[in-house]
């Protein structure tokens, strides 16, 4: 930098004639600002997310033995997955297959028919290679899960951690969404004490899932819990909810819902309140009933938010682990074990390969579900 003539402007803070190291560094940072801003995040994601992801993939295809201070790795390709899907771990991951019942067959055929109808409709209306390939994953997953449900749940056999996880996600998230939306709708009405309700309903989201787990374990205790007199009176004093698969699952789902309904509630309430009043008022003037107003105006305004919030909930729903671990430790048997818990237990028994394989299966299902949901539902709602 050459010296600028600053004699005419006394007392002004001029740039010094030559730059110090500090300024040169500042200038260098400025010239490379685009990199300086983004690389910390990229490097952290690469190191703690992408790198482990690849490592995990290799682990899922290996047999790993931990030794004192070191470990031994043997590459076994897809043996770990084979074991989960078809081998000795099949009962644990998928469930027990012991013949399909009539109901099972009906469900299987209905699911297959639905998929076939969906495929032919898609091929007829709009066909792109990329879209078709993407949907191929969705169809396979739906078909696989449909047949799995038919062969286990609908045929009266017990299902494994995959089924349990899907139960938490599909049934749990649907219930949470409906109740959350309902409460948000009630709170968006002109009632007194809205602030009170909104604050109270929001609280459970903030509470640590571990705490929720213990609290609900206490709630559900049939001898010491607050409802034990009711249980005694109903003659169920000796009944333990934790010893039956379905009651245990339901309790976990109730705890999960208690925690997550507030999330749906808070976002949907904010969305409902941001619907422009003129629309609603115009419809009122036109003589629409409350239900018609909700269906035709409010809902179409909030549906992009609803789709997104459900997507977020589903993403987080697949990660469920705290509640089953605290409330039932996966029991009775494996009835309440989610896939994350399954993987965690495999890790505890030092079976790193199986642990990684289960985790990867979870990842695969999560990604296919979420990407399908995003592309087929959320994007359309946002664009509409």
């Amino acid at each position: 930098m050459t010296v600028t003539d600053n004699t005419e402007r006394p007392g002004s803070p001029r740039a010094v004639p030559s730059k110090g190291a500090r300024e040169r560094f500042a200038d260098w940072l400025d010239l490379h600002a685009a990199h300086v801003f983004i690389w910390p995040a990229v490097i952290m994601i690469l190191v703690f997310s992408i790198f482990p992801l690849v490592a995990s993939a290799i682990m899922a295809m290996s047999r790993i033995r931990l030794r004192a201070g070191s470990y031994q790795v043997r590459f076994v390709w897809f043996q770990n997955f084979e074991k989960q899907m078809f081998g000795s771990e099949q009962f644990h991951f998928l469930g027990t297959f012991a013949g399909m019942s009539a109901l099972g067959w009906v469900v299987a055929i209905v699911v297959t028919a639905l998929i076939v109808w969906w495929i032919q409709r898609y091929v007829r209306t709009s066909f792109t290679v990329l879209g078709f390939t993407g949907r191929l994953f969705t169809w396979s997953l739906v078909l696989g899960i449909g047949w799995l449900a038919a062969a286990t749940f609908f045929s009266g056999h017990h299902f494994g951690t995959l089924g349990t996880t899907l139960f938490y996600v599909i049934i749990g998230c649907s219930i949470q969404f409906l109740i959350g939306l309902g409460l948000a709708f009630l709170c968006s009405m002109p009632i007194r004490g809205r602030t009170f309700f909104r604050v109270v309903f929001f609280i459970p989201l903030m509470i640590t899932p571990i705490g929720v787990g213990y609290a609900f374990r206490m709630m559900a205790d049939t001898t010491k819990g607050p409802f034990s007199p009711a249980w005694q009176w109903a003659g169920l004093g000796d009944f333990s909810w934790a010893s039956s698969a379905w009651t245990a699952r339901s309790f976990i789902m109730i705890g999960d819902s208690w925690q997550w309904i507030p999330f749906i509630f808070v976002v949907m309430l904010a969305a409902l309140e941001s619907v422009p009043r003129d629309y609603v008022e115009a419809a009122q003037v036109d003589g629409a009933s409350s239900w018609e107003i909700f269906k035709d105006i409010t809902w179409s305004q909030v549906v992009p938010v609803a789709a997104t919030v459900l997507l977020i909930r589903v993403i987080e729903g697949f990660k469920i682990v705290d509640l089953p671990n605290i409330m039932t430790a996966g029991g009775p048997g494996i009835a309440t074990e989610s896939m994350t818990l399954h993987s965690l237990f495999a890790w505890r028994s030092l079976d790193l390969g199986q642990s990684a394989a289960v985790a990867y299966l979870l990842l695969f299902i999560t990604v296919v579900t979420c990407v399908s949901f995003f592309n087929l539902v959320v994007l359309k709602r946002i664009r509409a």
Binding site: P226, Q284, L344
Partner: protein, 348 residues
């Protein structure tokens, strides 16, 4: 509808105009839900003042009427076992605060970068990186090459190849792709990555330290920060930043002096959300801490393993201690959070 047009036009509906039947139904549903939400918290709260007898002899509900509240559980935890409790509490505080600051800062910078600069990462270079990474893993995992050597050589070869061949590739990604890549990291279930992260920290001897958990939490929460902050930054006019640049500020200075203060609302919501997630996190802490760096959720979960079964009263005390600060924050700032969340949800 009995209301006249004039009423409909000029008097917004209020509770007085709701049919009495509807009113009763709405209020009873809301009150019922209030009960459902508050009762478990209430139960935990009173259990923390119960003695073993009060708990085991069947349920008692009302302090001073049903039972005599006692502070023995509180004393036990804060007088006799205070070291463990305080240790876990301070661990949780340090970890939640540091990781929140780190992820809000790093995430905001990335979100700002994506909102302001144009990136064109070459597709071919990314492919090269992935291939190089897989080769490095095979070298370490299968053939037992030292991981430091392997990583260093891998990075060196990658940088060399990227420099030499990078400009030959024409296909490139856009900012939108980078944004999606970063946000989609949230889909990743932590269980998928936690074992390699565990092994990584084991290699560098950082297991059971604050740093390990802070780093991991920072990355886990980055997608949320980027997702929520991106739109805030896009809504700031360019003029302001250009003006600050001409006033003599560096890009980092502009970010610090102008951009961050102007996104206060978003920052508050994001910070709070991320802090609560870090405060409550369980699975990653379970892997990465054994004793020294144990956080509150781990301490609570570990109380399950007593010989005498669960000591509900002590458990309740810990849970109360853990949730009180969060509930206070939540009540004070719930409007901010819902706004922040909505903004994220709306843009998708």
């Amino acid at each position: 509808m009995s209301r006249t047009l004039k009423q409909k036009l000029f008097e917004p509906p209020s509770i007085r105009q709701m049919a009495p039947g509807t009113k009763i139904i709405v209020y009873s549903i809301l009150l019922l839900w209030t009960l459902f939400v508050l009762f478990p918290i209430y139960w935990v709260f009173i259990t923390s003042f119960k003695t073993a007898v009060d708990v085991n002899a069947g349920p008692v509900f009302l302090p001073f009427i049903d039972f005599q509240p006692s502070l023995h559980a509180w004393k036990e935890l804060f007088v006799f076992d205070y070291k463990d409790t305080l240790k876990a509490y301070s661990n949780s505080l340090i970890i939640a605060l540091s990781s929140t600051i780190a992820s809000v800062l790093i995430g905001s910078m990335a979100a700002y970068a994506l909102a302001r600069f144009e990136y064109k990462p070459k597709f071919g270079v990314i492919l090269m990186f992935v291939i190089m990474m897989i080769i490095v893993f095979f070298a370490v995992g299968r053939y037992g090459v030292d991981w430091r050597l392997s990583c260093a050589v891998g990075v060196a070869i990658f940088v060399f190849l990227a420099r030499a061949l990078g400009h030959h590739f024409t296909k490139h990604l856009s900012n939108g792709d980078i944004l999606f890549w970063m946000i989609s990291q949230r889909i990743l279930a932590p269980i998928v990555v936690v074992v390699p992260i565990y092994l990584m920290f084991q290699q560098v001897r950082l297991l059971d330290t604050h740093l390990a958990i802070i780093l991991t939490y920072t990355v886990v929460n980055l997608p949320i920060v980027i997702w929520l902050m991106y739109d805030f930054f896009r809504s700031i006019p360019y003029d302001l930043e250009e003006s600050a640049q001409l006033d003599g500020a560096t890009r980092l200075g502009v970010f610090w002096d102008i951009v961050l203060p102007l996104s206060r609302t978003g920052l508050a919501a994001t910070t709070l959300l991320v802090m609560i997630l870090a405060w409550n996190e369980y699975l990653l802490a379970l892997f990465l801490s054994t004793s020294k760096a144990q956080t509150m959720p781990i301490l609570v979960a570990a109380m399950n393993a007593g010989e005498r079964g669960i000591l509900w009263w002590s458990m309740s005390v810990v849970i109360i201690v853990m949730i009180i600060p969060v509930i206070v924050l939540a009540i004070v700032l719930q409007r901010y959070i819902s706004k922040g969340l909505l903004l994220g949800a709306v843009k998708g």
